[in-house]
Symmetry: C2
Subunit: 245 residues, 2 copies
């Protein structure tokens, strides 16, 4: 990172409003997919990277995890987390993953929801994760899909006809990995585009085994709640990779 | 398959002309990538699915493979193969992979260049391949990239401005797997679109381990020979997966 857009007060205000809606991509698509990929959590030591407001950390404890170490770079996020999802078995830490140190084989399960696209040195972070994971441990993460991050633009990647109907999704610059500056709630949100090959091969290089890739599809119920989410059928917003040590 | 567009005389004429050019995607991009992914071939039993004109089968023998079984559905292709790349250690067979049977653990290395997107039942074919592969055997295949096959259209997926400059690449219908009818050399070439998740997970489901994913990037020399290939930097045409049993 250590981008910390979440401590920008305007961004955080918009973000909180978005997340409080009953129908958002997080609740309808990202979190259901993440939870479906989890192993049985009973007695596991979990590390959640980019824990945000702590909902997922609390979910893990509610599902019998032994302990969750929950990292975030945003003090705004963590203050909400500590208010709303405080628990004696959750250790919230104001910390970037790049600066976090833990002994080898400390965790049974490492998760990260939509935060690793903020990381500049993906290879180094995956090296740390592989080091901290116990043998047979599981690593599950989601990032914005490379199809969605590829193009250098601050515009919407959807292309519309004269009646404002979506014609198709624009992809470009796919092989140019690195910085992308985007507008999401506010200007100047900085992300890193990586190809699918890089995302997968970096894990393998660090000794992890790919267990599953998911490009999530909204359920019929999700589409009923939030009709616009149907466009996920036209191009995926998220990519999940589950890997084992 | 068992699409056999290669036995359409007009298609085959165009295809042969294209392949005979010194500068084509096959020579500059697909084949160099495939060859770089190969294990040392010395003494290996190879199965090449969709062997075409036999160049690759011959390459394997030239690099000390013990034997190559080379399948193709096109008698046009195989007659060229038998003329130009006949060898006592190559067994050319007019056969769709779906109809091919071999004992369990018959091959050390199974390859397929740009043919598995013609296969209707990918799961069944990967099951066969996993069955025919020896323990520690290697399976390497390339298909048209899901970014390129996603959209239901017979048009070019590139979108141009008024000066015929490429603006971006159009993606759509990504999650709708299945038949795509495309124009390539002739009308009505039938292919099957599959998501990246399906391509990867099908291999894993059949007990294979993902070793590497490649979305090939043309070399500087390739771009010098064929400047138009530079657009591969904007979106990948091919996806390679290397897996081990």
């Amino acid at each position: 990172m250590k981008q910390n857009i979440y401590d920008n007060p305007i961004f955080f205000h918009h973000y909180k409003t978005l997340r409080q809606k009953a129908s958002n991509y997080n609740r309808l698509l990202e979190q259901p997919t993440m939870k479906a990929l989890l192993p049985p959590l009973t007695n596991l030591q979990v590390l959640d990277i980019g824990c945000g407001m702590g909902n997922f950390a609390k979910y893990c404890i509610d599902h019998q995890a032994k302990h969750v170490t929950a990292l975030d770079v945003s003090s705004n996020m963590l203050s909400v987390a500590k208010q709303e999802h405080a628990h004696s078995q959750i250790d919230y830490q104001l910390q970037a993953i790049e600066d976090y140190e833990a002994p080898s084989a400390s965790f049974d399960c490492i998760t990260s929801s939509l935060s690793l696209h903020y990381v500049k040195d993906f290879d180094a972070v995956i090296g740390q994760i592989a080091h901290m994971l116990r043998p047979n441990g599981v690593f599950i993460f989601s990032v914005e899909h490379p199809i969605a991050t590829a193009r250098h633009t601050t515009d919407d990647n959807w292309v519309y006809d004269d009646n404002h109907q979506r014609l198709h999704y624009a992809v470009d610059h796919y092989q140019e990995e690195g910085l992308r500056e985007q507008t999401w709630l506010v200007d100047g949100v900085v992300k890193y585009h990586r190809t699918i090959a890089t995302l997968v091969n970096t894990l393998i290089t660090h000794g992890l085994t790919i267990d599953k890739i998911v490009e999530p599809i909204p359920s019929t119920a999700a589409i009923q709640q939030l009709p616009s989410i149907e466009k996920e059928l036209r191009r995926p917003s998220f990519l999940f990779i589950k890997a084992k040590k």
